[in-house]
């Protein structure tokens, strides 16, 4: 009972911290946008008269002091109102949320690709520690970490789409369109995942319960699948949760290469078009994704590993 209260208080505290993070992110973005350029000048044609620029600034509320502007923004933002997109004339949050499924699809395919490559390779490297196989896998990981997504993307386009005509070059709208960009997104996460899994498995293999499993006659395969991988998964899950920020920034580049209509493309367009409400909403949704993932991680930790103390 007392412990349950402790966990609840812990979670409440985490939520409060993450809310502060969100407000901080929103404030930073707000200030950065205003510092980077005078948005009124940037949005209006260069030949607009100073009076018209001033009038526009007033109409947008940009003539107010920064704290006043931010307070007004925050008051609307907590109600989900980020203003109206300058490009689309529609609520900015809706414009961003519309793109979430496309980017999520890319992320899910990317995750599947990353796991499909990293789990077998990482396990192999751990089981064959010190052999040429281990070296080859680690070499592959270094190579994977060194090739930028836009290069890999272009190589895949040239080989698979242009050369073999096996998949579409670019665009969105079908499963086939997800394959190449999803692969590129996934490959970016693979090297880190391989290294973490390998290290984690090596640690697990040194534990008593693995020795016991081997001693009771289980095959190497059964030990790996039933005991080792499951226990080695905790740091891997942690890594993946923290990798979401990296995954999202990778998606922005990959979406551009493949002309894929997701959140990344939207954000790039919004930045070049100075669509401030959409930039704000995009950053908010991205930050929220990361914050919620971290929060879930915190909660999951307290459930799966009681040793993680609910410290004050």
């Amino acid at each position: 009972m007392a412990e349950g209260r402790g966990v609840a208080a812990y979670i409440a505290r985490r939520i409060a911290y993450q809310a502060i993070v969100l407000v901080g992110v929103a404030f930073l973005v707000h200030v950065l946008i205003l510092l980077s350029a005078d948005p009124a000048r940037a949005l209006l044609p260069p030949t607009t008269s100073p009076e018209a620029v001033e009038a526009f600034r007033r109409a947008q509320g940009w003539d107010q002091p920064l704290p006043v502007q931010f307070a007004a923004f925050l008051a609307r933002a907590v109600q989900g109102d980020f203003g109206t997109s300058i490009r689309f004339g529609q609520p900015a949050l809706g414009v961003v949320l519309e793109r979430v499924p496309a980017t999520l699809g890319l992320g899910v395919v990317g995750l599947a690709v990353a796991l499909a490559i990293a789990v077998p390779l990482g396990s192999l490297a751990a089981l064959r520690r010190g052999t040429w196989i281990d070296g080859a896998v680690r070499g592959f990981a270094v190579l994977g970490a060194s090739v930028p997504g836009f290069v890999l993307g272009q190589v895949l386009i040239l080989v698979v789409a242009v050369g073999l005509r096996a998949l579409p070059v670019s665009g969105g709208g079908s499963i086939a369109h997800l394959v190449l960009p999803g692969f590129v997104v996934g490959v970016a996460s693979t090297p880190g995942l391989i290294r973490i899994l390998r290290a984690s498995l090596l640690e697990v293999y040194g534990r008593d319960y693995i020795r016991t499993a081997f001693a009771k006659g289980l095959s190497a395969r059964a030990v790996l699948l039933r005991h080792a991988l499951r226990n080695a998964a905790i740091p891997v899950v942690t890594f993946l949760a923290f990798d979401i920020a990296g995954l999202l920034s990778g998606v922005i580049i990959v979406e551009r290469v493949f002309a894929y209509p997701g959140m990344g493309q939207l954000a790039v367009q919004a930045i070049s078009g100075r669509d401030l409400p959409v930039i704000q909403a995009f950053v908010f949704v991205t930050a929220l994704t990361i914050v919620v993932t971290n929060l879930l991680l915190d909660v999951v930790y307290t459930r799966i590993d009681p040793r993680i103390r609910v410290a004050r």
Partner: protein, 556 residues
Amino acid sequence: MTSSIVVSSRRSTAALLAAVLVAAACASATSPTPPPVGASPTPEPTGPTGTLTIALSADTESMDPHRVYQKAGLSIMDALFDTLIAIDRADRSILLPGLAETWTTSPEAIELTLRGGVTFSNGEPFDAEAARFSILRVMDIDPATGQPIADDALKLNSDYSRSYGAVTSVEVVDPLTLRINLSRWDAGLLPALATLAMLPPEHAAAVGNEGLKTQPVGTGPYVLSEWIPDDHATLVASDFPWDRERGKALVQEVIFRPIPDVSTRISELTSGGVQIAQDIPVDQAAAVEAGGARIVSFDDGRHTEIWLTADKGGQLATSGDATPAQLQAIEALSKVEVRTALNMAVDRQAYVDALFNGFATPMTHAFVPGDIGYTPVIEPWPFDPDGARLLLAGAGYPDGFEADLDVCTCDAATSDLIAAVQADLARIGVRTTIREAEIGAFNGAWASGATNPMRASRLSFLDPNIYGLFWLHTGGLLSRFSDPEMDRFVDEQAAQMDPARRRELLHKVAALTHDLAPAIFLVGFQSVYGVAATGVTGWQPHILGHISVLDTAVGG
């Protein structure tokens, strides 16, 4: 030779059409844009067929044509909307009937006779009310009262508004007659009308300014069937076709796909995913041809020049915190010998060959091929660093001088060019320091009178009166140049109603810009397109730089 079609009140419709035909015939011989690709398509009697897919370098900024300025978006607007007057796609000096069949001009007014029986894609009739609404909308004038819109939040702030400074009011004479009353004649008005999309007033009232950003309704040859922003816009041939002089819709479905990454755009072209690709970088042209597609290019009117503060720091460069070096630079640039020397110090042909792979044209004056004022008779400045040094020494600057050069971060594409110019100027002792600024600060600093001696400017204009000559006129927007003769010619051509006479006056302006060298004129750029080797016929680049799909057929 071709000339603008400005219909005097005495001309009949037949005479107008004859003139248009003659002009079009002349144009085909001297057209600045290349001839159509493939054989000329024979229109199918059954109507438009097939699908044409086009790779744009960006998505449209909006579906509201009065807020679209980039050529990617204008390509879509060209298909969705019509204008009162049309511009021949091969020669911007040829004006064709659009939704206005004829027009008469006088210093007091332009009167247009509109085509009857045309409807918008939502069924609303196109009439003089719609035309009046569309013009007043970009002027931020309330059509109900004829007065400027007071509420700043309701203003459109359209870039197109600047072309209508001479318009005092717009009158509906009868349902098919529109009268645009003027305070003075402005030769830029007719070409401006050729870029002003006609919108349906009832639809606009129903969805508002915000709704128009996503719900386009026009009279155009195509209607929007689906728009997934940043992915594709699918257009289908309109059910309300009418015979447009500017071209016919021969394709049933057009898909515009924004593909920002150029390598991906080229891959789509060479793999057959798209038939036309916009904005092929000059260094990729060979790769496109190696991939089996064609390269089509033409001088599109964009050009880069370096404006010089040439009014002795007079009205504009008045900032009190000028350094001695800045003051010396401004003093030096007020001398025509110095400005000429700068123009002789830059090796334009080397820029064209080395930086643009030949897809550019050296400038000899303020206009480039395709501009109404362009004249090929002006001799280029010789590339002569020794002669330039002599001129500098004669003007009292044997050791050259130092000067700040403002460059916009938005012009990153021309940073190689500016660096090459910087190196060439250094060779005659003019040591420039590049000061990069983001566009707001870049324009603001020059307009506010900060003491900037030089500024790299990238321009392109539909007509010299629309963003073309302002910087050359005493007291003009962003102007740091003043010469009474220049002012006279600029003013006279703007008020001139006879196209031939106007062209002569513009040639005088051209010659003066060469002789007085208010800028270091660099190079004019070309638009470069990739086109599939087979399957596309009749396509030709549009002189205004966007992609027009009219008269283009697929298959065969």
